[in-house]
């Protein structure tokens, strides 16, 4: 890692995610596999690193987007960014009584049932049942709120009207049967470029990893101040009430480091998640996060991203310590393509000014009933783009999620999706390609077809382009008498043992390999003792690779 003066242009790499909401079926498989893997333990019963919200709806925790109440993210103050939760002194003053902390009732009080009653109930008068009990205090409880309470528009207009996004909208949306609309919003930590959670931690326990941008809590440094819980506008940092430490989505770094997608991605039945590398200029982030008009934040963040095809960027990246494979991964990155090339993916709540790195393709939706009634023909390309604002999901709603209220980028993204459908329908029905459809949304036919491959075919190797980690220390390549996992403290080693320990039961130390055996560098497999990496069995690394 570079020390001292950075190179002229520092390039950083982030593993980022795009979710195509147009494909999300709202099944919550991601939530369950994530919870099963990471948070089904005491202290984190109420914690869902990944959750799926039905919108419109209040989400989890309840109304988390209401920053007037929760004070998450940044605000612009005199041209400078300050955490909405206040400066350091204010936060320190509130260490022990933080009113901006969602209460358990805002998440939900986790419960279980007296399941044992089903098997052990003595002979009585009626069928045994298992009444609910609180997982917090073990007492009988009444279930009045949950992590997914408004799933599929449950709760009715009374509850859904409290959706902070609905309240922000210019036009009042009627929550009625005929006007019904909904879509799903899966949410994880945004692993922001400008994370407010990191900034507000009094203990310096939160950090953004240099090599891949994953934002983590150092479990040793965390003192449980919970400032990060308030500071994160997405409410994606949780307090483990057993360990007294903060926990959050780790982007499954043990998997990412191995080149595998996160659990939520790989188990996504809708096949809507993409993971890939994005290169960015860290020195532009602060400026971009400070643009005065919220509506410019989307473009400003785009301006931070670097083009990995640009030889200058590639050189600077490698000079910044980013391995070559990461640069090529950035070129093949589906995330980069959806964000930058096709411009169909948009950031979630850019107005929080955290520069989020989990982006979303907005959803299409059915046309409204009034058009159905009149015999509107959505198939006709001439009607196509006119139809975007007749879709059931109000553009304004999407714009308040993704573009700080600016409907233009949302409309453009939806038009591209719609154009792709129309363009491909002609091919599907055996008609000649019509490049005019692509041009109408600012793309070429080739672009549309490449985008189609990414969004429709969405093969595993195209959804996830994840280079393996470069954090580990490569074994010294001069060693030729041991396994690559050997060496003091190496992952393949047992502890060397304490003085006086019975040496018989410790693994035998590697013996020197009998060199040559007259076979001129080749290994005689008949008398090789299986230890070490004898010369000739494995090719020697060249100097240039060291």
């Amino acid at each position: 890692m570079p020390r001292g003066t950075p190179p002229t242009r520092r390039v950083m790499a982030q593993v980022a995610m795009v979710m195509n909401l147009d494909k999300c079926i709202g099944c919550h498989t991601c939530s369950v596999t994530c919870k099963q893997t990471w948070t089904n333990r005491t202290g984190t019963e109420y914690v869902w690193f990944n959750n799926v919200e039905t919108r419109p709806g209040q989400g989890y925790p309840r109304g988390h987007e209401d920053q007037d109440r929760w004070k998450g993210g940044w605000r612009l103050k005199g041209g400078r960014l300050v955490p909405r939760s206040g400066g350091r002194a204010r936060r320190l003053a509130r260490l022990f009584a933080n009113p901006e902390l969602p209460a358990l009732s805002d998440y939900y009080e986790p419960w279980t049932y007296d399941y044992a009653n089903l098997t052990t109930a003595p002979l009585g008068e009626d069928l045994p049942t298992a009444p609910p009990r609180s997982l917090i205090d073990g007492r009988p409880t009444d279930i009045t709120w949950g992590p997914n309470w408004d799933d599929d528009l449950g709760g009715g207009p009374d509850q859904l009207a409290a959706d902070p996004v609905l309240r922000q909208m210019n036009e009042k949306v009627r929550l009625e049967y005929e006007q019904a609309f909904m879509f799903y919003l899966p949410r994880i930590c945004e692993h922001c470029l400008n994370p407010s959670c990191v900034a507000v931690c009094p203990s310096g326990a939160l950090y953004k990893r240099i090599e891949d941008g994953i934002v983590l809590v150092d479990q040793d440094r965390c003192r449980g101040w919970r400032m990060c819980v308030s500071g994160c506008p997405y409410k994606k940092i949780y307090f483990n009430h057993r360990t007294g430490k903060a926990e959050k989505c780790t982007l499954c770094y043990p998997r990412i480091e191995a080149g595998e997608p996160t659990v939520c991605s790989e188990t996504c039945v809708g096949r809507l998640r993409y993971l890939g590398v994005v290169l960015y200029d860290p020195d532009k982030v602060g400026e971009a996060a400070r643009v005065p008009d919220e509506k410019d934040l989307y473009e400003a963040q785009l301006g931070c991203f670097l083009d990995p095809f640009d030889p200058e960027v590639a050189r600077a990246a490698e000079a910044s310590g980013i391995p070559h494979d990461w640069v090529t991964a950035a070129r093949r990155s589906p995330v980069r393509a959806l964000i930058t090339d096709y411009r169909v993916a948009l950031p979630l709540h850019p107005e929080y000014r955290t520069m989020p790195m989990v982006w979303y393709v907005p959803p299409l939706s059915p046309i409204v009933d009034s058009l159905t009634r009149s015999g509107h023909d959505g198939e006709d390309p001439a009607n196509l783009f006119g139809a975007i604002d007749t879709l059931r999901i109000p553009l304004d709603y999407l714009a308040h999620l993704f573009t700080a209220g600016d409907t233009a980028p949302v409309e453009a993204a939806l038009c591209r999706l719609a154009a792709m459908r129309t363009y491909m329908r002609r091919i599907n029905l055996g008609d000649p390609r019509d490049p005019a459809i692509a041009q109408a949304v600012g793309l070429g036919g080739d672009d549309i077809e490449a985008m189609y491959r990414l969004l429709a075919l969405a093969k595993y190797e195209d959804r996830y382009v994840i280079p393996t980690s470069y954090t580990g220390t490569l074994p010294p390549d001069t060693l030729d008498d041991g396994c690559s996992l050997d060496g003091n403290g190496g992952p393949g080693m047992y502890d060397a043992g304490l003085p006086g320990m019975d040496t018989f039961h410790t693994p035998p130390a590697p013996e020197p390999v009998a060199a040559g055996d007259g076979l001129r560098g080749r290994v005689n497999l008949l008398n090789w003792n299986g230890r070490g990496t004898p010369r000739g069995l494995f090719p020697r690394r060249r100097e240039s690779e060291q």
Partner: protein
């Protein structure tokens, strides 16, 4: 690693000291940061926004340790879901930790999405069960029963005698039956548990008969070995297996009616091929979660998606358009679409592709007689070669002579009118050529030079006759004589002294598509709302705008025209669970058949309701029915079984003719539905179990003593009145089912429609029903009525499960089963073309055992106790006239040949067929664990094709080893679950190409060389899948005679492609897909053609609200039970993860308007009450719901968070507490072509959608 530094310098404000302090702190931080940069040489961003700290160690070990695991094992989830997803099960320190989906399905091609990752949140939460507090860890028994048994056992020193005493003593019997479902379960050891179960079986078989024992285990495809081992045990005993698919109402009865096929549907990957997709009553994201992505992705190819659903369902999000008809009126919408398509694509303009298709592959050109009924005419029977005394003109002399020999088969040859010859012709491929000797090589769909006329219509010179067609859209359904009629002329010709028309002409009349010159009541145009079946007419019934329907119909047909049939309708339980679902489905299928979409990739019906596909069918079928040892096995239709034995018929106070058409002949007058059930049994239409009032072992001995042929002996006894069918007196203790074993199932909590009647009559437990019994004038004519209905018919309810369910709560004996992650098994589905394995991640913990192990040990104990008590006996087995056997040609003409009215009874003709089966009850265990010789000696018959697995039997002997003791010496061993799986794969064409090739060769002999079926067989002959292949990775199966569609690595499975591409006939009367059904009972109900029938009016059918409800602040609503997002039937519904993501207990979704009416807010406790029972749940208020309808997602049981009801003071009921079984008479038809029984193929459905209930807000203080 770098913590970002604090950065922004706070702006100076005038808000006092705190602000000043903040500023100071900020400035200090800023300075420190600068200092740090200088001193430590740490890097920052240029604006000092962030600090790079490569120097710090961080502790990220906890998450690495959390992720670390010891092994990953491939398995899946074994029943009730048809997903068949392959999963990775993670094991750490010997414990199952979590699961994620496998992603290694073989590719389906470079130009389409893949199957990975298949799964859903329910499956993802499965591992919770392994160590959950609801896990059944030990054998359990009801304490009172155990006490009495032990006492008797000790005193009598004989387990069988002990069981006989406890169940035979009225007082003791009452004591333990009354305790059912009321707790008091106690642990016992495995040996004792098995002894009790075995003793019950021995006693019951000896005293009452093997047909008084029954097994229930559904959906075999999802864990074939676990299902098969128990079914095999039952078959060796002679106990019936109860059908489930029809009982669940998942069987789309229109499929046998139209296709002559149980259900065959495209794999989900074929949705991709569709250019137009309708999701009709199917909420794919919820009910086909692993496959929903195909629908989302196919839109990007330009597929148009229309969702038809009364609520704003999850699938609606993906629609281009949402049509929301009133629940249950979907048929009207489809009829109107059919009206538009017939008008615009068949009458005003003809589309060659459509015309050719319907002439080749449907019954539209076939001739139907127009019959005189009083002063009018009605559509009658298909005209057959026998009717016209047709010598088949296009045949050689020799052929004709041969045909003469098969005179009787001419009654099975319906005719068309050949335009070229100007005469009627019996085309090849009809049922008359399927079973007859002379039909060999002629059973195919090649028309040769025959050009069938679709219509007799001629604008000027044509003759026509006005026919009466029923309509049911006016007034209340359920009133005798059901609604009215329309009178419409059809063009006719006089042939052989009969007025004859075509099915096509009748169809146009049915759909109200007028042609000039034809008289009658015809609509004026699309906007005529008065007469069926115009778009405006449907709007008045469904509320869907007429314009939307016209456009949908046009787009649908235009797309089909352009793509040659690539329009698909995914149809689901929302349209299939209705009483009249067959009419709804036939109106859907009409759209697909008219536009040539069936038998085409990307087209046709896609019925996904509890459907499954045991892809290795022949092998599973063989081992599960123990057909390798004994034939025939007993099979029973589930719905009539439960209808009679839970006494739901006693609460049905309408007459069977209440549902009849005004054009009917009064066949049901004065009769109760139970009478029709009994009639269907005695005519051999439906099976019946128990069969006779006597023990079939006793009857078997009598037959042997008499030295008579069993069928003749039975016929004589019946004629003399010395023998009585049990179904004619189901409440006589002699006729009760006595022992029921349920495994891989939750009968009581999940599928028991009329749940409270199960509790009351079958089990003798407490219940919440308040319905009144039928008054004397409405009671059955032929079925005996006992003044006092019996309570507690079952002696033993035995349940095998790994979790507590309503069934285990009610069961007398509960055996702890292994979970799906603890055993070997096989899984397949119709949603994808692969077969893949279950493998144990851990051995069954505590005292759990696999189903395989449990049945093996039960069989061992049974065989031991049978020695000296049963030994070898002869069992008189009755078999219904079965589809895909010559039995389907038993009753020509589709009449009702009741021998009681016009004798004599003739076995196999107007009576079931009978056989004597020898059973060595001491060898049950030995036979269960080895493969018998009958498969290779007598062959395995699947769908009418017989193959001989001789090579496979040898291979299995080599692979599995052979048995030592007599009488199974030398037979291949099936003594482990892996060997049973191996046998299933080896004995099936889909997984063993040699058998597929043999089957195709047999089929080619019947269908002729032009069918090229032999070539198809050769293309798969080398394929072979063994069990270890399926453990390594899902393996694609090959094409086989077992299924109707072609398979291939480059080809998605679509049904009936073998029919369309190889001209193989459908298994129907005409050999084509049927619009027209001419059976007497179809005519009686007015359903010869697709017709709109509204939901039942239960009030008109005599169902009255219980007194005291329906008062203030209550609302009467339609009560619908769609499939849940948080469970697969009852499984997962009590799983903590799922309940956490749902609402934590039972809920009913209710519209904003209805909630306001009962003054209920979201999450308030409410009660739903109707005569059948009570449900206590919380309200989910949502504007997604239409007013007037509530959803209670099934299955919500009483297991978690169900308080006592205000209405009865007892625990609220399950979702099925508000339903009651009603049987549709036409589902009982048998012995007539495709309308013949086969297990899970044809039989009454246990429909439950037509229910209504009263809902009110209840006290919010609840008691558990």
């Amino acid at each position: 690693m770098p913590p970002h530094g604090e950065k922004g310098r706070p702006a100076v404000t005038h808000r006092g000291a705190r602000k000043a302090a903040e500023r100071v702190a900020g400035e200090v931080a800023e300075r420190l940061l600068q200092l740090g940069q200088q001193l430590q040489g740490t890097a920052t961003t240029s604006d000092r926004r962030a600090v790079y700290r490569p120097d710090q160690q961080v502790n990220d070990a906890p998450y690495r340790e959390r992720w670390a695991h010891d092994k990953v094992v491939r398995s899946t989830h074994g029943v009730n879901c048809t997903g068949s997803c392959s999963w990775k099960v993670y094991v750490k320190d010997g414990l199952i930790t979590w699961e994620t989906q496998q992603t290694d399905y073989p590719s389906v091609g470079p130009d389409r999405p893949e199957y990975e990752p298949r799964g859903c949140p329910r499956g993802a939460s499965f591992s919770w069960y392994t160590y959950s507090p609801t896990r059944v860890r030990y054998p359990h028994v009801r304490g009172v029963l155990l006490e009495m048994y032990r006492e008797a056992r000790q005193r009598l020193n004989d387990p069988v005698a002990a069981w006989a005493e406890v169940t035979g003593d009225a007082d003791k019997r009452r004591r333990y039956q009354d305790a059912r479902g009321k707790g008091g379960l106690v642990r016992l050891g495995w040996d004792e548990a098995l002894e009790i179960a075995a003793a019950a079986h021995v006693h019951t078989i000896r005293t009452h008969g093997p047909d008084r024992v029954a097994g229930f285990s559904p959906i075999p495809a999802m864990s074939m070995a676990s299902h098969a081992v128990g079914a095999r045990f039952m078959a060796l005993l002679g106990a019936p297996m109860l059908s489930f698919y029809d009982w669940y109402a998942d069987l789309p009865i229109a499929s046998p009616q139209v296709f002559g096929d149980q259900t065959d549907v495209p794999e989900s990957g074929d949705w991709w091929d569709a250019a137009y997709l309708m999701l009709w009553g199917s909420n794919v994201p919820v009910t086909r979660t692993p496959d929903a992505h195909w629908m989302a992705e196919a839109r990007y190819r330009g597929q148009k998606v229309v969702v038809v659903s009364p609520d704003y369902a999850d699938a609606t999000k993906f629609a281009d358009e949402w049509l929301h008809p009133h629940p249950g009126t979907d048929g009207a919408l489809a009829m109107a679409m059919g009206h538009v398509i017939l008008r615009e694509f068949f009458v005003d303009r003809q589309v060659p592709y459509f015309t050719d298709y319907v002439k080749s592959f449907t019954d539209l050109p076939f001739l139907v007689e127009v019959e005189r009924r009083g002063t009018s005419f009605v559509p009658g029977k298909f005209v057959t070669a026998a009717d016209l005394d047709l010598s088949e003109e296009n045949r050689s002399e020799e052929d004709r002579a041969e045909a003469g020999q098969a005179e009787e088969y001419r009654r099975w040859k319906p005719v068309v009118f050949d335009a070229g010859r100007g005469a009627p012709v019996a085309p090849p491929g009809t049922l008359g050529e399927r079973w007859s000797e002379h039909g060999a090589g002629r059973w195919h769909l090649g028309l040769g030079d025959v050009d069938p006329l679709l219509t007799f219509y001629e604008e000027r010179a044509g003759t026509s006759v006005e026919v009466l067609l029923p309509r049911f859209d006016q007034g209340a359904e359920g009133v005798s004589g059901g609604g009215g009629t329309v009178r419409r002329a059809v063009p006719v010709r006089e042939i052989g002294g009969r007025w004859v028309t075509t099915v096509f002409d009748l169809l146009l009349a049915r759909y109200g598509v007028h042609r000039p010159g034809l008289s009658g009541q015809w609509p004026e145009g699309y906007d005529d709302a008065e007469l069926p079946c115009t778009p405006a007419w449907q709007e008045s019934l469904t509320s869907v705008p007429a314009g939307a329907v016209v456009r949908a119909a046009r787009e649908f047909a235009h797309t089909a025209e352009k793509t040659r049939g690539r329009c698909m309708i995914v149809m689901g339980a929302g349209t299939n669970h209705w009483f009249h679902s067959d009419t709804i489905y036939r109106s859907f299928l009409t759209l697909l058949l008219l536009t040539g979409c069936q038998g085409v990739n990307g087209g046709g019906w896609a019925h996904y309701v509890g459907q499954e596909k045991v892809r290795p069918y022949a092998g599973w079928q063989q081992v599960q029915s123990a057909a390798d040892w004994v034939r025939p096995s007993r099979q029973m239709a589930g719905t009539p079984f439960w209808y009679l034995h839970t006494d739901q018929w006693r609460y049905e106070s309408y007459r069977a003719d209440a549902l009849a058409s005004a054009t009917g002949r009064g066949l049901f007058a004065g009769r109760h539905t139970a009478d029709l059930v009994a009639q269907s049994a005695r005519l051999g239409w439906m099976p019946s179990a128990p069969t006779f009032s006597d023990n079939p072992l006793t009857l078997g001995e009598q037959v042997r003593a008499a030295g008579r042929e069993p069928g003749q002996w039975v016929a004589d006894r019946l004629r003399q009145g010395q023998l009585r069918f049990a179904c004619e007196d189901p409440d006589d203790p002699a006729n009760w089912p006595r022992v029921l074993t349920v495994w891989r199932a939750n009968l009581i909590g999940s599928s028991a429609k009329g749940n409270e009647y199960f509790l009351r009559h079958l089990l003798g437990a407490g219940d919440n029903a308040s319905a009144e019994e039928a008054p004397p004038e409405s009671r059955p004519r032929d079925v005996t009525w006992h003044e006092q209905a019996p309570r507690g018919k079952l002696d033993l309810l035995l349940a095998l499960d790994f979790r507590m369910t309503s069934t285990t709560l009610m069961a007398d004996l509960v055996l702890p089963a292994a979970t799906w992650y603890e055993k070997h098994d096989l899984s397949s589905t119709d949603m994808h073309p692969y077969v893949h394995a279950f493998s144990p991640a851990i051995d069954p913990p505590w005292q759990a055992r696999t189903d395989f192990e449990i049945f093996q040990s039960l069989a061992a104990k049974f065989s031991e106790l049978a020695r000296g008590r049963l030994d070898t006996r002869h069992d008189l087995v009755a078999t219904a006239l079965q589809h895909d056997t010559p039995g389907e040609t038993a009753q020509p003409g589709g009449v009702v040949p009741d021998w009681r009215e016009a004798g004599p009874p003739r076995p196999g003709h107007n009576l079931p067929a009978f056989a004597l089966v020898e059973r060595d009850y001491t060898a049950v265990a030995a036979k269960l664990a080895s493969l018998g010789p009958l498969a290779e000696e007598a062959g395995m018959t699947v769908k009418g094709v017989t193959v001989y697995p001789r090579a496979e039997a040898r291979w299995l002997a080599d692979r599995c080893g052979t048995a030592r003791p007599e009488p199974v010496r030398g037979r291949p061993l099936l003594d482990t679950d892996v060997k049973l799986c191996e046998a299933i794969l080896a004995l099936s064409g889909t997984t063993n190409g040699r058998l597929a090739a043999e089957g195709f060769a047999r089929l080619a002999e019947r269908c002729g060389p032009d069918s090229r079926l032999e070539t198809l067989g050769e293309s798969v002959a080398e394929r072979r899948v063994v069990f270890s292949d399926t453990q390594a990775r899902p393996v694609q199966v090959g094409a086989s005679f077992e299924w109707s569609g072609k398979e291939g690595p480059e080809r998605r499975y679509a049904p009936f492609t073998i029919n369309t591409e190889h001209r193989k006939p459908w298994h129907t009367l005409t050999g084509r897909q049927h619009f027209y059904l001419d059976h007497d009972w179809m005519a009686e109900l007015g359903e010869q053609l697709p017709v709109y029938r509204p939901p039942l009016d239960l009030a008109a059918l005599g169902e009255h609200s219980p007194t005291g409800v329906g008062s203030a602040r209550s609302v009467t609503v339609r009560y619908v039970t769609p499939h849940s997002k948080w469970s697969i039937h009852s499984e997962y519904q009590e799983n903590l993860l799922m309940q956490t993501l749902a609402r934590g207990g039972p809920v009913i979704w209710i519209s904003v308007e209805d909630a306001a009416r009962i003054e209920a807010a979201d999450n308030d406790w409410i009660e739903a009450v109707n005569p059948n029972g009570v449900v206590v749940a919380r309200a989910v208020v949502s504007h997604r719901m239409p007013p007037g309808t509530v959803f209670m997602y099934h299955v919500q049981e009483r297991l978690v968070n169900v308080p006592k009801s205000e209405a009865t003071g007892r625990r609220g009921g399950v979702h099925n507490a508000l339903t009651k079984l009603l049987i549709k008479p036409t589902h009982l038809i048998g012995g007539y072509g495709q309308l013949s029984f086969a297990p899970n193929y044809y039989g009454p459905t246990g429909n439950q959608r037509d229910a209504v209930t009263v809902i009110r807000r209840r006290s919010q203080n609840v008691e558990y």
